[in-house]
Symmetry: C2
Subunit: 467 residues, 2 copies
């Protein structure tokens, strides 16, 4: 692709910004919440929306790939597309997801989660940045390149967009395992991460893995009156509290025996680079977290704790009486939703086994515990020394006018590990979110300037790969 | 009242059993759940239903007494009635409540909670025994006495029926404090307790008090992604677990400093009588509780633990993600609903102060805790050596053919303390529930044979008081 063509593609992006945003809004209006069965129809609608657009911009072999099986009922479809006519050029696999997290708590949203609203240069909606907005950058970059190239792309491209990223990605994992040849590529491009700071182009080169679990505690056969039975009947919430209090100490050190055994220390070079990043812990506490103090293992910086150390959180404790006022019930059972973030070289299977065995060993009196794995993902660290990473940093240098920093992410994108393990395909994680984008929280947003710069960066990255 | 008239009243009860049950069903169909604001209209309907029936059977001065005030908004009405023409005879204050507990978890009910169903000689519905069914015994006993007495009762009677028993009874407490003269009586009759065993007539002579509280834990300003912030942001559920785990030890001994200071040991005579009761701990564990083992303070029997020892329970932990599947959120806040049962000579004020101060002293890092009192009630022990108790045991001997046992109850009926303290009126707690009636739980029921025997016992009790 000539420099002129690249400029033409970038020009196309700039001329069509307003339309791109309107299209994104239409996608954001679809409440494709993958974890809630009642939204299964919306999830499929979002898949069809993405497929229709891929067809419209000139991608080929566009189709929905069903993922529902007997073992994985209720699976949401993948969207696949390709354009494979750039003979002799590399193949890029563009990955994204069209599903979103539930929007609750609803009352903390300033505008409705599925009624996108522009305010102060941002677009607010569930999924704005995670990941509909970032996935849409891929689609729009491809459209611009097609337009500037007279219906041709500078590289071979496969697109795979999933609808289960927020629920563990079981469908795409199976597809990668069983039909990996259909996703054969030299490099995967994933835009589901964030920039370290505004104006600072960022590549994510490591991700934590995770195990998401439920502990169910059962006591009495049926709910009991706490007046009549208090003092004799086991209380599942008290039991879960006892268990949870034994999972971490007051500092946040995880007490599961052997849990840290396989934790790999980041390299000295990484630690040095992280120290050089513009990070102000007090500013982070005040503006991002907003708590009276931060927590976590002593002796590790915030970046180490959130990028390179395993952690454990409780997300909710369903059961019993949760309405307003009072109900004096000893519930027959209660649940705790507990997840752990994992780092290299931990494995989900080993972490879960150690956790389950420990939880069972501390089961309180009168209680029966059941520990269930809901989903899991491997931790990963990717190489930074290859042509793809150089193409990415070059593209972003053009757009941002500054050098790219390498960071890790605390979250999990299990598919990156699958690409590496199953397809032997390295991944470039080029994300354009911001730290205050309220991912998974009320008032999720995407900074529109980054939406535009993201599309331009991807245009330049793909053009450079095909140069 | 002559023996003939008593027989006539009892005959009236026997002839009208089926009608009494149908009327009770109509009352049970009204979902008068006092803790849920959306049912305020239903609560009032239940009050009007009771008032209409009291008018119909010949009671006088029937009226709803509003309890809603600026300080107590949304208060539910009291139903008052009297018949005061038995010159020279004692006055009996009949107390009951027409409000009920929420029915959840709904999916564990075999028939709908507000569609009463007769099965195996029981009537199943929320409120069947607590307390609509037992309150209806009072109304029907009065009707029978009126019918047999040609429109006259053998004693003076006041009726007060409240709609806030399940939410702390603030309205009736204020009414007793401010308008106690309108409830002036020699003895109060309360039927909101149970028989120790089938066929064993029982008077309850002691009740535990309670404080019902909420602990709110706040961490980050908004919900955060556990991948990005896990390891730095405080987790309110983990914090609440830590706090709860420090409230009781593994055996169930409460760890709040000074909490047991004012606990009064039952008399040796009481302890001896309790040991003589037909109680099989293994049978109780298996059939009533249904857990793998019982819990509670070592060194105390089940009856001591549930009647004469303070206890602490957690009823629910609202907040965070409680849907199916996974949401990787660190919620900004979480709640724990925690109540404590109190015994003589503890006071709610002192217990709450000690609890609050202790909880605040163990507040985990990064978390702000707020401890709120939702409602409270005093513990009580009533005298057994008076004419009213003798009249009650005599009445039940007639009906059941056996001697009455004296027990305590683990639950709380705060109004009994108010009657004693504010009105100097002793209470006879003559209840006809059974231990397996599923009070406050799914499949609440009332054994119809006890409904009938309860009405007859009350007929005989009132007749004997007026002899």
């Amino acid at each position: 692709m000539t420099a002129n063509s690249v400029d033409a593609a970038v020009g196309f992006v700039r001329e069509n910004r307003a339309r791109f945003v309107e299209e994104l809004k239409a996608l954001l209006r679809i409440p494709s919440i993958s974890t809630l069965p009642e939204h299964a129809g919306d999830v499929r609608r979002a898949a069809e929306f993405v497929a229709a657009e891929l067809r419209c911009i000139g991608m080929e072999n566009v189709r929905l790939v069903e993922t529902s099986t007997a073992k994985h009922p209720g699976g949401h479809p993948l969207v696949y597309a390709d354009w494979l006519h750039a003979a002799g050029k590399p193949t890029v696999l563009c990955y994204g997801h069209y599903d979103v997290q539930p929007p609750d708590p609803l009352d903390e949203w300033k505008s409705l989660p599925f009624e996108p609203e522009e305010r102060d240069g941002n677009i607010y909606a569930r999924g704005a940045v995670d990941d509909k907005g970032q996935m849409w950058m891929h689609v729009k970059a491809l459209e611009a390149l097609m337009a500037a190239g007279g219906g041709k792309l500078p590289v071979n491209v496969r697109v795979i967009v999933e609808g289960e990223e927020e629920v563990g990605g079981e469908g795409i994992a199976a597809f990668v395992r069983e039909h990996g040849d259909q996703l054969k590529a030299d490099v995967a491009l994933v835009s589901d991460t964030e920039m370290f700071a505004p104006e600072l182009p960022t590549l994510c080169v490591g991700l934590r893995g995770m195990i998401y679990t439920e502990i169910e505690a059962r006591g009495a056969r049926t709910d009991l009156h706490s007046g009549m039975y208090g003092g004799a009947a086991p209380n599942p919430f008290v039991a879960l509290a006892e268990v949870i209090a034994k999972l971490k100490d007051a500092d946040g050190t995880i007490l599961i025996p052997g849990f840290y055994d396989n934790v790999k220390k980041p390299t000295d070079a990484e630690l040095k680079a992280w120290k050089a990043l513009p990070f102000d812990e007090e500013h982070y506490r005040e503006t991002e977290v907003g708590s009276v103090s931060l927590t976590g293992e002593p002796g590790y910086s915030v970046l180490e704790r959130t990028w390179a150390r395993p952690t454990l959180d409780v997300h909710g404790m369903p059961g019993g009486f949760t309405g307003a006022g009072a109900k004096t019930v000893i519930p027959a059972r209660a649940l705790a939703k507990v997840s752990m973030r994992l780092v290299p070289d931990m494995t989900p299977a080993e972490a879960f086994a150690k956790y389950k065995s420990y939880v069972e060993s501390i089961c309180p009196k009168g209680i029966v515990l059941e520990v269930r794995l809901i989903h899991s993902g491997d931790p990963i660290v990717v190489s930074t020394d290859n042509a793809y990473v150089r193409a990415a940093t070059g593209a972003m240098r053009e757009v941002f006018g500054t050098e790219t920093v390498f960071v890790r992410g605390g979250g999990s994108i299990p598919i990156v590990g699958d690409f590496e393990r199953e397809l032997k395909t390295p991944t470039v994680m080029m994300g354009f979110g911001l730290p205050d984008d309220n991912l998974h929280a009320p008032n999720e947003k995407f900074h529109l300037a980054n939406f535009y710069r993201g599309i331009e960066s991807i245009v330049r990255f793909l053009a450079s790969m095909g140069a």
